[in-house]
């Protein structure tokens, strides 16, 4: 039975503000800030490592813990970006452009305060928007049937290959390889075992969570091993004014609002992630500024744009994740794993019968933004210590957690082999410009894609025309074709135009 939004909101408040849920939220935000501040860790890896440990925790509290890690890491990434010019997460990359110069000019506190405030306020704006949007999402989601769900899964993968840099064909190969690996195990309709080689422990297929741990933890640790042992070599001096930083954010409401919305919009596109929204918002702020030459030399507007957008990305990425089960980023891929593990299946139910749990998630994000602001402003001078941790201490710790976590999932040693093998494959993919996120998305979407493909074919008696019969599915097919070939056609037309006589 659908809960009215107001009633759902009040139930959500009672969930969020109860113990131990609020405790888990604080733990998640703190862990997230630490993970985010440690270059090479970030929200995806942190969430992937913590995910198996959430098994004993109550479902809503577990999801709130994961989403709090995500939120905390987005702010945490800016700490290293500002203090030592090394973004803790890809989402904080654009923060280095002006955050680090501000730090070198003796305004590190201003920069950190700007970061905390822009993250908190930007996030609060987009979370509020999410409450409003969610009421309309259920109408859209209910219009989708099996053919549309299959096509949305394919569209999700094709969009990543366009958004991510590197060869589009490489991205598609990675995505389809991810889809292929999900066919290991018992087939969804007939009781046939596929690619199990007679191994009973493979009948349930490869674990999606183990794949995430391999691709985010093992791969990252291999990358980290190839970088210098220490992250921050010199002592970081933190000076400046916190309140000046805070006031600076509120003096620029348009930049704040626009950047947050850019983050939300881009975050909703599968695979784009916070790094893209970061740069987009920064570029837009620079374009709209009267003093664009000061960007890159310690202009706080650059930090506002970057940090507000990456907070907006969190809320944006929740839209396709909760509506269709299509993650908007690596972190939401892990969150999706958590949702499925804890029995919260993405789709219409999350906006109808489980609306209170969904609102609890949004409310936790809202409250989390306040926590980030308070902690960011109060303890910011102490947070620089995190950046001094040697990566050689991090690697064995993370790998021990990853191995133990993998065995926790199903007490199945194939999950341990999965994190090792996929970790190496992920490393190879990154070194050779294959999109890891496309691969992750393929792995996530495989079961959805196959089940909906088979259901659609059963409905149509085996005919593939079902995918173009309805207006919505036809539109999705057209969107896939445009996404795949649009850029190529564009550049072809541009070349033809150049060759035509004037």
């Amino acid at each position: 039975m659908a809960a009215a939004p107001v009633q759902a909101l009040s139930e959500a408040a009672s969930i969020v503000f109860s113990w131990p849920t609020i405790g888990w939220m604080i733990v998640g935000l703190t862990l997230g800030m630490i993970f985010g501040a440690l270059p090479g860790i970030g929200s995806s890896l942190g969430m992937a490592i913590v995910l198996p440990l959430t098994l004993p925790i109550e479902s809503t509290a577990a999801i709130i813990l994961l989403v709090s890690i995500y939120s905390g890491a987005m702010y945490g990434g800016s700490i290293a970006a500002i203090l030592i010019n090394v973004p803790g997460t890809a989402a904080a990359a654009a923060t280095t452009f002006d955050g680090y110069p501000m730090s070198k000019q003796g305004n590190a506190k201003d920069a950190l305060a700007v970061s905390a405030t822009a993250s908190a306020v930007g996030g609060a704006l987009t979370t509020s928007a999410l409450f409003v949007i969610s009421n309309f999402l259920v109408v859209i989601v209910l219009a989708f049937g099996s053919p549309e769900y299959f096509l949305v899964a394919i569209l999700g993968i094709t969009m990543i290959t366009v958004v991510a840099r590197g060869s589009m064909v490489k991205g598609l190969v990675a995505g389809f390889f991810g889809l292929l690996l999900t066919t290991v195990g018992i087939a969804p309709i007939s009781p046939t075992s596929r690619y199990t080689f007679g191994q009973l422990s493979l009948f349930d297929g490869l674990s999606f969570v183990a794949a995430l741990i391999g691709l985010f933890a093992t791969t990252e640790m291999l990358y980290l091993a190839g970088r210098a042992g220490g992250i921050a070599d010199e002592n970081v001096e933190i000076s400046g004014s916190l309140w000046q930083g805070v006031r600076g954010v509120f003096r620029r409401p348009i930049t704040l609002f626009k950047s947050a919305l850019i983050g939300m919009g881009v975050g909703a596109i599968p695979g784009s992630g916070a790094s893209v929204s970061n740069f987009l918002a920064y570029s837009e702020a620079m374009r709209a500024s009267d003093d664009s030459s000061s960007f890159g030399n310690g202009n706080p507007v650059g930090v506002i744009a970057s940090e507000a957008s990456n907070s907006g990305t969190i809320d944006g990425s929740l839209i396709p994740t909760l509506s269709f089960g299509i993650p908007g980023s690596g972190s939401t891929a892990v969150l999706l794993g958590g949702l499925i593990m804890h029995g919260m299946v993405p789709g219409p139910d999350l906006f109808t019968s489980q609306l209170n749990q969904t609102y609890a998630l949004f409310l936790a994000l809202m409250v989390g933004n306040i926590f980030i602001l308070v902690v960011g402003l109060s303890f910011v001078t102490k947070l620089s210590a995190i950046t001094k941790i040697d990566s050689n201490y991090i690697i064995p710790t993370i790998m021990v957690l990853a191995m133990l976590g993998a065995l926790t999932l199903r007490a199945n040693w194939w999950d341990v082999w999965t994190i090792v093998v996929l970790g190496f494959i992920g490393y190879y993919m990154r070194r050779n410009n294959y999109s890891v996120i496309a691969f992750v998305l393929g792995f996530v979407l495989g079961p959805i894609a196959e089940q909906n493909l088979l259901r659609s074919l059963q409905l149509s008696g085996g005919s593939f025309s079902i995918f173009i019969e309805q207006p919505l599915s036809l539109l999705l097919v057209i969107a896939i074709v445009v996404v795949l070939f649009g850029h190529y056609v564009d550049s072809l037309l541009a070349r033809l135009k150049d060759r035509l006589p004037i």
Partner: protein, 161 residues
């Protein structure tokens, strides 16, 4: 994977065969891209990058990161750090299967840190941490990390789960 699916029913094979075919076609296109005709080669080799100018900014940062990456730290060891880390991770998993993760976790941490020349007290602390984590997994989350092919129920830390 494509050939193996031939004996299955239509419902069972349609998805894996389609995906396998797409992976094969894509891989062949990439492998032979230098020999493809002009327009097809452009399609295969061209980057996505739908966000134009932002890609330039991102590329600048990644170029810097790549330069750092190729200047790998030198620990005075014969093999490069990434390869050694991969070997240690593989050894940890394989030996953990035979001797249990409970025993191998602190050993992995110790061997890794000693190889990368970390101070003895760091080796001691992190090895102890690895042991504590393994113990916590067995006792609090009741994961059978104290089991291995050669160890069996020998350790019985989790009360013989």
């Amino acid at each position: 994977m494509y050939i193996r699916a031939q004996d299955w029913s239509f419902d069972t094979k349609v998805f894996p065969q389609s995906m396998a075919a797409l992976v094969i076609i894509g891989s062949l296109l990439l492998f032979f891209q230098d020999y493809l005709p002009g327009p097809l080669r452009t399609l295969v080799a061209e980057t996505g990058g739908a966000f134009g100018k932002t890609d330039e900014l991102e590329e600048e940062l990644e170029d810097e990161a790549d330069t750092e990456e190729f200047n790998m730290p030198d620990y005075g060891r014969p093999l490069n750090p990434v390869l050694m880390t991969a070997i240690f991770i593989t050894g940890y998993a394989v030996l953990g299967y035979y001797f249990s993760l409970f025993i191998m976790s602190p050993i992995f941490a110790a061997v890794y840190l000693v190889w990368f020349r970390q101070p003895w007290w760091i080796v001691a602390i992190l090895s102890a941490l690895a042991l504590v984590l393994a113990y916590a997994f067995v006792t609090m989350i009741t994961v059978p990390v104290d089991r291995g092919v050669f160890v069996g129920d020998l350790l019985m830390i989790g009360g013989g789960i």
